[in-house]
Symmetry: D2
Subunit: 356 residues, 4 copies
Amino acid sequence: MAGSSLGKLFKITTWGESHGSGVGVVVEGCPAGLPLKESDIQKDLDRRRTGQSKVTTTRKEGDHIRIASGIFKGKTTGTPISMWVDNKDADASKYESIKHLYRPGHADYSYDMKYGFRDYRGGGRASARETVGRVAAGAIAKKLLARDKIVITGFTRQIGNHAAATVNFKEIEKNIVRCPDPQAAKKMVTAIMQARKNGDSLGGVVEVVAKGVPAGLGEPVFDKLDADLAKAVMSIPAVKGVEIGAGFQTATMTGSESNDIIVMKNKKVTTRTNHAGGILGGISNGMDIVVRLVVKPTSSINKAQETVTQKGEKSKIRVEGRHDPCVAPRAVPIAEAMVALILIDHLLRNKTSRLT
Amino acid sequence: MAGSSLGKLFKITTWGESHGSGVGVVVEGCPAGLPLKESDIQKDLDRRRTGQSKVTTTRKEGDHIRIASGIFKGKTTGTPISMWVDNKDADASKYESIKHLYRPGHADYSYDMKYGFRDYRGGGRASARETVGRVAAGAIAKKLLARDKIVITGFTRQIGNHAAATVNFKEIEKNIVRCPDPQAAKKMVTAIMQARKNGDSLGGVVEVVAKGVPAGLGEPVFDKLDADLAKAVMSIPAVKGVEIGAGFQTATMTGSESNDIIVMKNKKVTTRTNHAGGILGGISNGMDIVVRLVVKPTSSINKAQETVTQKGEKSKIRVEGRHDPCVAPRAVPIAEAMVALILIDHLLRNKTSRLT
Amino acid sequence: MAGSSLGKLFKITTWGESHGSGVGVVVEGCPAGLPLKESDIQKDLDRRRTGQSKVTTTRKEGDHIRIASGIFKGKTTGTPISMWVDNKDADASKYESIKHLYRPGHADYSYDMKYGFRDYRGGGRASARETVGRVAAGAIAKKLLARDKIVITGFTRQIGNHAAATVNFKEIEKNIVRCPDPQAAKKMVTAIMQARKNGDSLGGVVEVVAKGVPAGLGEPVFDKLDADLAKAVMSIPAVKGVEIGAGFQTATMTGSESNDIIVMKNKKVTTRTNHAGGILGGISNGMDIVVRLVVKPTSSINKAQETVTQKGEKSKIRVEGRHDPCVAPRAVPIAEAMVALILIDHLLRNKTSRLT
Amino acid sequence: MAGSSLGKLFKITTWGESHGSGVGVVVEGCPAGLPLKESDIQKDLDRRRTGQSKVTTTRKEGDHIRIASGIFKGKTTGTPISMWVDNKDADASKYESIKHLYRPGHADYSYDMKYGFRDYRGGGRASARETVGRVAAGAIAKKLLARDKIVITGFTRQIGNHAAATVNFKEIEKNIVRCPDPQAAKKMVTAIMQARKNGDSLGGVVEVVAKGVPAGLGEPVFDKLDADLAKAVMSIPAVKGVEIGAGFQTATMTGSESNDIIVMKNKKVTTRTNHAGGILGGISNGMDIVVRLVVKPTSSINKAQETVTQKGEKSKIRVEGRHDPCVAPRAVPIAEAMVALILIDHLLRNKTSRLT
């Protein structure tokens, strides 16, 4: 129990369900003195929200953030920041007809087994709507990190069989799939529209790069930076894998290929390659932090699939509703938020690593 | 700071360095009444120890476990179990000559940046020797899980370009690379011996399967079962990626392919495939839990590589010492331990999920 | 940082300031299946609220609770329960004139030193208004405890020099000071009215008794039941001391007096006296849990007192506003809530103490 | 479960039983770079150990500390420090005859109820012998605090009916009861010797004063400095009450008496009195931190007392063994350690309270 909190010094606790009255977050441990207003947070929520383009669900959530505590005269006071968004355009009626069915790929059965029953409206707590709180908290984390010149950028690396061949950060927000390669972006959009037409969905890979992270962050041996990033990112709905730097590619490398050669650059210790993804021994080494995650294809598809009822009777289900045919584009700001939350927590934790 | 503990109800705290006086662990939260003796723990340590075969380092550590508390008349008392192993055959002299050099692929530089200096003997705390405590604690976790018919099996899925084509659990411990496919095992051994001869090393993929895990384990939304598994496994030295079930393959699947069709089997809700790896919405669904992790090639290689000194002067380094040319075979019991530790913690946590 | 959460399995996180938009709490770890509605919570909030009698402040807060998550069809779902109360009748204008002054007995200076500045309106986060969230969460805890026949009763033991000579639980809520001795209650009311007339305030002692607590709760050696109770109760604003059972009286007892003789009663192991207050070795022994706490006299008094400004200039201050002349009566439901929160957390934690 | 850890950034985990192989502690979060050797720790252990004078038990434990990790070339490395002491002169034979009896005032029954059975040798984990680990860790905490000119001094304030009338820190270690008033000390010694002769025991009050604590430590609203101190101190065996500053005396004060008048002294904000004990709103205000705790009379007395057997049969017990007739003198270094552990944790936590 009690698994809705993350972080040790910069800590968040999220609450809310898909079709309840709203979704929110309480942020503890934000240092006092940070200028903060609702618009700082709104911009990332707008990147996360539904209905932002033709590749996302058409549910219109609005998602106007309200900050209810922790701010005085425009600055954080060091006390908990409570924020939430009301749930609007929530239509639970369509879930009535499928409430006794276990949707394939969804958490319906596992929730029933855990809690004895479930809030079946739109996935309840298992809905990606829960991530509103993460993104809101992440926006604060990003603002704190920016003071130390740490910048976090997420993008879609791959959708289905289409992968970005080039990475140009300036291109990312210019296309609706958030791909840094404009050519690949077009193919991704086409593939998504085709999948939707087929009543099907696609998976993808999201990548997050954190630039400017100082060497020294991460707390061996369990709260290593990569370990905490893996947990944070794996906790995002639909994520089935995480890798750091060269990740699974290192399985087929030799040590002489995979080791990053150490060289001086601008009087700083740096590495010629970055297979390590900026983390060695669980501690940042000053290179870019590179985290990659895979999101499975959206489970809600408009195709009949076999399943069973709560009573164990054979049945078929076709999930109508309004769903993203591929969650990767909207997962980008969520993944950024999770990386930001871990980095700020470790930046704060690292302030006591040695005597000064 | 304070990052050497893992778990909430079943909690472990490890201590010790590669060339200090020993390595150990304190286990909190083991329920009272479990029969436990040192030999229960020794068998997994023997699978982890060095010098067990020609594919591992020749350092002879012995690793005889000592239980110093928490047991009375052969049973756990519910109080902390403190265990450790003395460090033997530790030869720190060879590290004197390279103490000012940053070894590529190692945590030397990141430790220096974090703490201001480092115990340079054999990697100090960053050494995989620290995992002795994890394996010892994991053996207790496995014994507890066995009471609920939960069995954890790890094996080497891939080394370099050689992957297991078949998975026969009975074959795993019959070969020195712990591969469930005897044909692939032979190729793996040959590849490792060749890499050693070249003064180089290989990466690999380890897979852990947990059978018998009841549906319902995992605590949304941050302490999801897959999130905690990802953290635990990523915290193992050399691991650069983790995936659950079909993992990164889901990027190229459609929803209709990736969703596991739900069917009844022996009057139990089950799925026809297991792309989910036994976890949906962060909660186990009763299918096998499948965790896969990649270990990078051993960083210590007997080839000259460019690097810099602590003062930033260009240099070259060739790490002689005694090192595993591929860590995958010895990572198998470590990965099993990490999975066991997370599962027992969640099994205990789940006892309060609903009113009874 | 991050100090607004309490509990391990049943965990609460409070937020909000005296003169912000509201005060609230997120409750994690409430088992699924508990019938819960807003009126279950409102009744304890009504015992805590201002303006309930002539011995309390006249500020009218209303304090209507709103539950925003974690409930489905009238039952808890096992997911976080977010609740809050809007701040009404908050008049911050009177604080403008004293914002540069440090009020004696208040946290003004310590907050300034910690955070660099403070929300000076009504004490901000240091205000007892924050305890709304505790009482709301405590009401859920009490409802859970009631299922196990655990009943928590708080009362005013002493105000100034007037102490209850008898303890009759039925009398407690019949008088406005919540004293179980009607004779003493009258004297307490008179004393409070006199103190208010003098522009002064009084201290007091509150006692909480938990009946029906099973033997076995408490987690040595740091999370002992008495240790966690002490922390919880000491965290209430104005509390300066806590004792269990005979408490400070044991200083002048001998062992043969203080030891509670063990006897059988109704086939149950019990003790003839209860100097231990129901806790031995940090674990409940089945007797009544008895916790006593002292609340200092309200710091805000309508008498001129010396102080300094933020710049260190000598000054005088007279706190006008609307304040309780003695906080003991309103501290009763708050103390009950804190005891309930600790007991439910330990009841849940104890479910894994031994193999079954 | 899992209750043997304390602290968030500076965290300790203790292990060991009275008659097991030893007692120890793992300290996490000690910043790197602190010079530390075993003798730094030994001196406080010598103040805690048995057999140090005629007022303590005659059991001779020796208690030579061994540091097994976390130190390199005489300095802390930032990694866990594991330390322990072997159990010597442990004679468990005398417990065989009373293993089926519940000793009044002891945790025998509550342990049996919690865990199903207990290590009955000398109280097992419930023994005050467990505090060796606390004192060892506290010695490190004190050494860190000393760098910030924070000095912690404990003493016996009262034994039975004899209280110190004056407080002269220089007198404390000059007498065997650690009383700062030499006249009272003599009476205390006489009273203890008389109690031992009677086969009885005495209670007492211990006080700890921390000088030099900067304003700003403590994390509202649950991890307030006083709340964490209360928990830490209440977790010491035999403690039944805790107070801060004027403590329970504030019950009979008026606000105008209890409020500490704020004045400038040496250009610093300070208070004329210190009824607050250095803490307001849960945050230190720069004045001396004053914590007082009551220890009940030793439960093991050499007088026949009624009790029952595990089977519920009436019986009598007389605890022979070697016991302290009053634990206050030996509780002094333990209480100091607990205060030091909380202060260092909060000193580290406070480094992130505001932007710099």
